[in-house]
């Protein structure tokens, strides 16, 4: 991409209010996640300390006080049963959510690009094989396979890394499909023919002629994948096979919270809110990136209805 192209993309991105808002939310979250130790130090809490004195043990461990035990010491209240500080657990949960999602996206994109390129440039048999595999990968409920895979790997393996790999290994289908389609289109373009006439081999063509053009659609798709991966991590944790306690994660918190929605609604709403805001933020940003990278797609959609509009005639 030319430097000028980059500048243009950046300008177009900044012109979109929703994308800027999404980006701001993500930036804040990243900041909070990175500086989580600092924030918890200010609050004076940590993610693991139990506070039995803050819960009513005889009543199932419901937090004492209103709104899930919000107080000056515990800014967002405490967890039922254990009395652990919710603010600390939520902001540390952001690290897992963002880290796993970003890592998994990278794995998905790498795999997807390699497989998509192989299918697009390979012979008919390879293409057919990879395409059908992609079909199945795309459509099979990956959660189930994640469960099976997670069960196979020895428990000593660092869980977040494992999650990155599992989500990544199961989620490359979309990227590969897009890359393959793109490669098929690009392959028929004259500049690729010209490169072949100039003496370039397949690998050189893939690297020099195809990859640069794949960047925009792949980045766009990666921006769509990111929020989906956040949800995948949360889903796996929700099913109890994500990151393991005492490491806090939003999905895990939601999973424990499902039964508490009547006795302690704050316990449900907080992780749900964090997750929702993050995913919506990423989605807005992704939408913005898409429009910025492919302004034609955006303007293609700007067509007339043939109806008279006031601003049209003045």
């Amino acid at each position: 991409m030319s430097t000028e192209g980059r500048g243009q993309v950046w300008r177009r991105l900044r012109a979109q209010r929703a994308a800027v808002a999404g980006g701001a939310v993500i930036a804040t979250l990243v900041l909070v996640a990175v500086a989580a130790p600092l924030f918890t130090a200010i609050e004076g809490q940590n993610t693991t300390a139990y506070h039995p004195e803050l819960v009513d043990s005889a009543a199932g461990g419901v937090p004492l006080g209103s709104f899930g035990g919000i107080s000056a010491d515990h800014w967002l209240g405490v967890e039922p049963g254990t009395g652990r500080d919710l603010f600390a657990r939520l902001i540390y949960g952001a690290r897992i959510s963002l880290g796993v999602a970003i890592g998994a996206t990278v794995v998905q994109v790498l795999l997807g690009v390699v497989i998509g390129l192989a299918a697009g440039l390979g012979n008919r048999f390879l293409d057919e094989l990879l395409s059908r595999t992609t079909d199945v990968m795309l459509a099979l409920p990956s959660l189930v396979f994640a469960i099976a895979l997670l069960a196979v790997v020895p428990a000593g393996f660092p869980r977040p890394v494992l999650l990155v790999l599992v989500i990544g290994l199961l989620g490359w289908g979309g990227t590969s499909r897009i890359v393959r389609a793109q490669v098929l289109t690009l392959k028929s373009l004259d500049y690729v023919a010209a490169a072949r006439l100039g003496g370039s081999g397949t690998w050189r063509i893939a690297r020099r002629e195809l990859l640069p053009s794949l960047a925009a659609p792949v980045i766009t798709y990666a921006a769509v994948l990111l929020p989906l991966n956040i949800n995948s991590e949360a889903g796996l944790s929700f099913l109890g096979i994500g990151v393991q306690p005492p490491t806090p994660s939003w999905g895990q918190m939601l999973s424990s919270a499902t039964t508490w929605y009547e006795a302690d609604p704050a316990y449900v709403l907080l992780p749900a809110g964090f997750l929702l805001v993050t995913v919506v933020g990423f989605t807005l940003l992704g939408e913005g990136v898409r429009t910025a990278l492919d302004p034609r797609a955006a303007s293609r959609l700007r067509v007339g209805t043939g109806r008279k509009r006031e601003e049209a005639s003045v």
Partner: protein
């Protein structure tokens, strides 16, 4: 017509290959996985001698490739199993017997399918109505408040994981407002009315997520067709906007929607694990998860293969529907 036939045959051929590969991978994964199905079938305080007997009875002593071969054989020819006092025939396609319960896997599939189908069909009807409807409205009402509101809805819809939507729906309708019963699956054959009432929340939870996707696709597909030359032709010939949208644009915009819904429907049949878990719907997805956890390989394999078949079938149906809906596409 021969084109369609060869297309289907080729599709079926490659599908069989993929499913074979998939089942082989699963077999391998489970073979490597820690845990002993015989131990689980035998019970917690099972002695070593008894364990050996059970292992033999489940044919777990055979080499893994032989087990796999027998499994494939059963799909084609069926199998006879000893019940102790006699034999039980498991007709083709026989997917084997559950290690856990000794039931035929095909039977288990049959038991779990109605719940999953109930969830899938109802949710699909809802999401098609909601999704295509709001996509249509937001495409036609471009730039107005309705469009912005609907864009917001689809954005939040695609972003929200189903378990959050589900919990929030439960909180709102079962706890705060108390308008709905806490969902408890009732088979359609038992009481259609209760069946529907108890599925309303899961349907909406799933439909909320999916309809957002459909709204986006309908909208962009519709905007794309609205920008096409033939739409311009009819505008230039004085055809009214309503007729243009309904007769010309929508007709062109629907093929991708139809194709996608066929695929999603196939995937749904594989079980919406999270939705089933959250709402306690005894469907295929839940069965699969518990089977994975109890290492009930025949059930896992059977369910996965059935799921794979649904998916491949749905993909093929999607392509055929797409081609039928859009005569310009040639099947290859």
């Amino acid at each position: 017509m021969t084109g369609l036939l060869t297309f289907l045959l080729r599709r079926a051929g490659s599908a069989v290959l993929v499913l074979l590969a998939l089942s082989a991978v699963l077999y391998a994964v489970f073979y490597i996985a820690p845990g002993d199905p015989a131990q689980l079938a035998c019970g917690p305080k099972c002695g070593a001698e008894q364990l050996a007997q059970v292992r033999q009875n489940l044919a777990l002593g055979d080499p893994v490739w032989l087990q796999y071969w027998h499994f494939l054989q059963g799909i084609v020819t069926g199998h006879d199993y000893s019940t102790g006092t006699g034999t039980e025939h498991c007709g083709a396609p026989c997917l084997g017997l559950s290690y856990q319960s000794g039931e035929q896997v095909t039977g288990i599939l049959g038991e779990k399918l109605p719940a999953t189908a109930s969830l899938a069909i109802g949710a699909m009807v809802l999401w098609l109505i909601m999704g295509v409807g709001s996509g249509l409205v937001s495409a036609v009402r471009r730039g107005r408040f309705t469009e912005r509101a609907l864009t917001g809805f689809t954005l939040v819809g695609t972003a929200t994981p189903v378990f959050i939507t589900g919990i929030l729906l439960l909180m709102l309708f079962c706890s705060v407002l108390q308008w709905l019963p806490y969902p408890s699956y009732v088979p359609f054959t038992e009481d259609p009315e209760q069946w529907a009432w108890n599925l309303v929340l899961p349907w909406f939870a799933l439909a909320f997520l999916e309809s957002a996707k459909y709204a986006r696709i309908t909208r962009s597909s519709l905007l794309e067709t609205l920008a096409e030359d033939h739409v311009r032709t009819f505008r230039a010939y004085g055809v009214g906007e309503r007729a243009i949208v309904w007769r010309h644009a929508l007709r062109g915009a629907l093929p991708p929607v139809i194709a996608l819904s066929a695929m999603d429907f196939g995937t749904m049949f594989g079980g919406a694990v999270l939705t089933e878990t959250l709402f306690g719907i005894p469907g295929i997805g839940q069965k699969l998860v518990t089977s994975v956890r109890t290492e009930d390989l025949p059930v896992v394999l059977g369910v996965t293969l059935a799921m794979g078949c649904f998916v491949v079938l749905a993909n093929a149906v999607a392509d055929v529907l797409y081609a039928l809906a859009d005569r310009r596409v040639v099947l290859t």
